[in-house]
């Protein structure tokens, strides 16, 4: 971050992954296979 004047622009990766195969049952939990990364992270671009 160079200064505080820059506008912080968040690119929200709204990926909406699909579950391509779900309910894989194991002794310690459940696995769901999804086709994209979960979009719970924001990338802040200070370059503009």
């Amino acid at each position: 971050m160079e200064d505080n004047i820059n506008i912080i622009e968040a690119f929200n990766f709204n990926s909406n992954p699909n579950i391509i195969f779900g309910d894989i049952q194991t002794t310690d939990g459940i696995i769901h296979k999804i086709d994209k990364m979960l979009g719970a992270i924001n990338i802040f671009d200070f370059s503009k």
Binding site: I19, I24, D28, M37
Partner: protein
């Protein structure tokens, strides 16, 4: 003693797939999951079984089918060379080819907190398939970096894939007011 009996019972039930599967069925599908009669003792759901058919059929990554398609009155029997192990999440992430990249970036790095969960409550893992790592313009996997460095770089994404202490089924996800109780 009761636990030991239950484990043995589960190991036996883990050998029975809930539908008729011939060698040719395994070969057509190449790899995938099915259900067995063994139950997860915490949520009473049928355990899955992973099969991979290449030169031979391998079950849960360990047991090899040595004689297949033995017809009996009420089932098809396949002889295996080892006891089919009960599955764990780590086991399936290790052996499922769709999850090779997910496995690469989570193994070792996440073990320290995977082990902290409450065993009775279990966990849910939303595992990203290989192509999912390339679904954005940004690179999630830098081939020049170690697995550990890649895991550190993708920490937030990968952490969000894991829900500790809650076993979330598809029917839960379809319920309108369903909430995550932990992550």
């Amino acid at each position: 003693m009761t636990e030991e009996i239950n484990e043995r019972k589960d190991l036996l039930l883990n050998t029975i797939i809930t539908k008729r599967m011939l060698k040719s069925d395994f070969n057509i599908l190449k790899y995938g999951y099915d259900s067995t009669l063994a139950l997860n003792s915490n949520n009473y759901q049928n355990l899955s079984i992973f099969f991979k058919a290449e030169a031979s059929i391998i079950l849960n990554g360990k047991s090899k089918v040595i004689v297949s398609d033995i017809e009996t009155d009420n089932a098809i029997m396949h002889k295996v060379n080892k006891i089919i192990p009960l599955p764990t999440t780590n086991n399936y992430i290790d052996i499922d080819p769709d999850l090779a990249l997910f496995n690469k970036t989570t193994t070792d790095y996440f073990n320290f907190w995977r082990s902290k969960l409450i065993p009775k409550l279990g966990r849910t893992i939303f595992t990203v398939i290989n192509s999912g790592f390339y679904s954005y313009d940004i690179e999630f996997i830098d081939k020049g970096k170690s697995n550990y460095e890649n895991a550190a770089y993708n920490y937030d994404f990968l952490r969000d894939c894991h829900v500790s202490n809650q076993m979330i089924k598809m029917e839960n996800l379809r319920t309108p007011k369903f909430t995550f109780i932990s992550y």
